[in-house]
Subunit: 168 residues, 3 copies
């Protein structure tokens, strides 16, 4: 994402930055609040969600761990999540950095990169750094709010077996 | 805090967002810098500070671990903190996410939600993730600066015995 | 840094805040992306980088662990980093808080304080909280972008032997 270094010089309309940052922020809070049914609606109808590792991403391998194309496929994952919910009780807390934001290829489209951490707390109080990495996003403005056209979640670690069900 | 999802659509005056974010930020830095005497002054005269757990909060239980009503009660806690300071030397570092911010019930009142982490570093260098959770805030603008009317600290963990003295 | 408490009351031009925050953000991402050759260019030609500990900083000791004066000295460190790169493979992820920002002593100069964490992930997936602390920055606006005139990295821990090579 060296391009970010270049596109970050341009000043965006402050309301665009607010919309983009609010989207990134609301997405994280929805997952933390176990409001997973809202998850597909942070994306456009044809939006794409990819979960991959830094190792794969840096090697240019397009094969992610998870790839959801469109809200329909995302809703299927949400259903799977509800039925597969056999875990020990726990909660998540996201921490997302300020994003660098630039203009995307189309009118009213934007790209962004941010860092994230997810902390998991088990019911007995144990906490662990569950995942860290970066979000590489493309967004469009739809009806006065931003939505993801594509969100690529790049995990720092390649140990990801446990991540199959819950979106990051 | 599903309401946040709705109120986050509205654009606020950028100077209001700045005042609210500066308040949240300065509060964290004051605690990290052991400048605890300033703590009551981040609240209005009648401000309320509540420390509770996710378990209690989600169950709608208003009983927190700590509840301070008004700056007087907060100043008493500050005094207790100074006299009870018998700990092994350590320092805290807060990390607070961007808040979602919305209008509150009154003119010039605002509500916000953010995530936080507190890292504790012991003098020998050991670090631990001391606390994670979310801040649920109500704020008012007083004399060109924001202050908390209410700050509810919702801890992800229910293991909180150690938290009795220091504000989060 | 009690001064921060005072200078944070003043509202800055939003584009100044954006430039300052983009600088802090791009700096962190460049290090995370192993783009260390760019590191000296986040500073002015005569910029200063200091890495120190909270213990030393609070005691007013100007002696840091590392002190680079000017881009030339920084470029030497970058070269040293490339040749000394004998580590077990790993990656870093910075998380930086919102900064409090104030006016500096000169026209178009600014000061800022933020908190940071650096998470290190080893190739086998182990993660650790590698460093936490605060950034104390002075910046100037040069050709429509902000650069560091001075960046003081204050580590919470005094255990720093491992930090000799990589900038934080």
């Amino acid at each position: 994402m060296n391009e970010i270094a270049h596109f970050s010089q341009e000043r965006l309309d402050p309301s665009v930055r607010d919309m983009v940052e609010d989207l990134i922020c609301a997405y994280a809070f929805a997952l933390d609040d176990e409001d997973i049914d809202r998850w597909p609606y942070f994306f456009t109808e044809s939006g794409v969600y990819v979960l991959t590792t830094k190792e794969n991403h840096d090697a240019g391998l397009p094969i992610g761990i998870i790839r959801c194309i469109g809200r329909g496929m995302m809703s299927d994952r949400v259903k799977a999540f509800h039925t597969a919910n056999i875990f020990e009780p726990h909660s998540y807390s996201h921490m997302v950095s300020r994003p660098l934001i630039g203009r995307g290829p189309r009118q009213d489209s934007y790209v962004a990169r941010s860092n994230f951490q997810v902390i998991r707390t088990m019911q007995d109080g144990r906490t662990e750094l569950f995942a860290t990495g970066k979000y590489l996003d493309s967004m469009v403005i739809e009806k006065d709010a931003a939505r993801f056209q594509e969100r690529i979640v790049v995990l720092d670690s390649r140990q990801v077996d446990i991540l199959v069900v819950m979106p990051i």
